[in-house]
Amino acid sequence: MALGVMDTQRNHFGLFRRYFASKFPSHDPDQLLRTNLNEMSDIPENTILRQMSEKNFAPYPNQSSFMLGEWYWCDGSQKSKDSFEKLIDIITSPDFSSADIEQTKWAWIDRKLGSSEEVVDNESLWMDEDPVEDAGWAKTPVSISVPFRCSSPPTSKPTRRRGKTKIQEGHVQTYTIPGFYHRSIISILREKLANEEQFQHFHLEPFELHWQPGNAATSIRLSGELYNSPAFLEAHREVQELPQEPGCVLPRCVAGLMLASDATHLTSFGQTKLWPLYLYFANDSKYRRAKPSLHLCNHVAYFQKVSNVDGQIPVHH
């Protein structure tokens, strides 16, 4: 398929984009920048806060349930006028909605709060939870072959003949690490693209960014984002030119993986050490990736070493 060259209009700053496609993409994350510049700042925006906070009340499904639960557990066991007024404050607060608590499973939550272990519960607590949410962590045994020089069975001593040590063949034993924690990269991608907030910032088509100020005759190519880079454009072109999958005419996109791993100490005093594998998507702007509060860094795995196999692996959220 021949790809056309499509240039956008120059903007105020003399910037324009060059797409290698037959039409401009309908999905343009950068349009959001005009209306959503404060996302680049660290001052929390109410809508984001609200969206993210729903999850932060776990195991309570929402804020209303949490407010009531907290009042019940944390406000002393004796009823008092003061406590009663607090209850009135809660149910008259604008954040409180009685509809939110209609389906709350109080007994289940109390059990979960009292349990010291991570409860893996098949029963879905959240009424509107996306089925792909939280999916994909696995604990897999990993085996390696360990070579040994001598073939003697354990504890037997090398046999000596005519005063010389007999040269023995090596042997190999399998060593297995019981629990390598890892996550399917596909499930991370699925989860991301199904999430409306994350998807709208996900660049599906790379483009060249050019600068042509004022009366300049030619433009200068700018670099700044992965999805402006020759590598991404090349990958995109390569994918468009692949033979079509049988019967498939769906749009084809590159999901750009950016991996990183770095051993890290968890505590100042303990020996708990982690060697996580992180994943970012090159389709996200660096300005968003660099913002920890947006949670664009995914944990894919926790590597282990033979010299550290007993290291404590924390329970994942």
Binding site: V142, V146, T155, I186, R252, D310
Partner: protein
């Protein structure tokens, strides 16, 4: 207190009893030397990567994977690796 911190840090890199026992049992009494540990850590690292790059990953790499996006459009996504920044803890 500072001394204590250093002590725990050094201990971290010693072999845990479990692997040490395994090695001693099969070697006829000797523990692994430094080069062997480096070799084994590398083997283990690659074995773990093999687990991450499973059949599903390879399928998505070669043939793409169809995913329903939040805008209601199905698209075929091809995984491509752009960067991998890593340390080398065996050094």
């Amino acid at each position: 207190m500072v001394r204590f911190l250093f002590t725990t840090d050094i201990k971290l890199w010693q072999l845990p009893d479990e692997f040490q026992d395994f090695y001693v049992q099969h070697s006829g009494g000797k523990g692994p030397d430094k080069a062997t540990i480096t070799f084994l850590n590398r083997e283990l690292f690659h074995a773990q990567w093999k687990t991450i790059i499973d059949d599903e990953f390879l399928e998505a790499f070669i043939h793409g994977i169809v995913i329903l996006c939040a805008d209601g459009v199905r698209r075929r996504f091809y995984l491509r690796l752009f960067t991998y920044s890593a340390d080398y803890p065996e050094k």
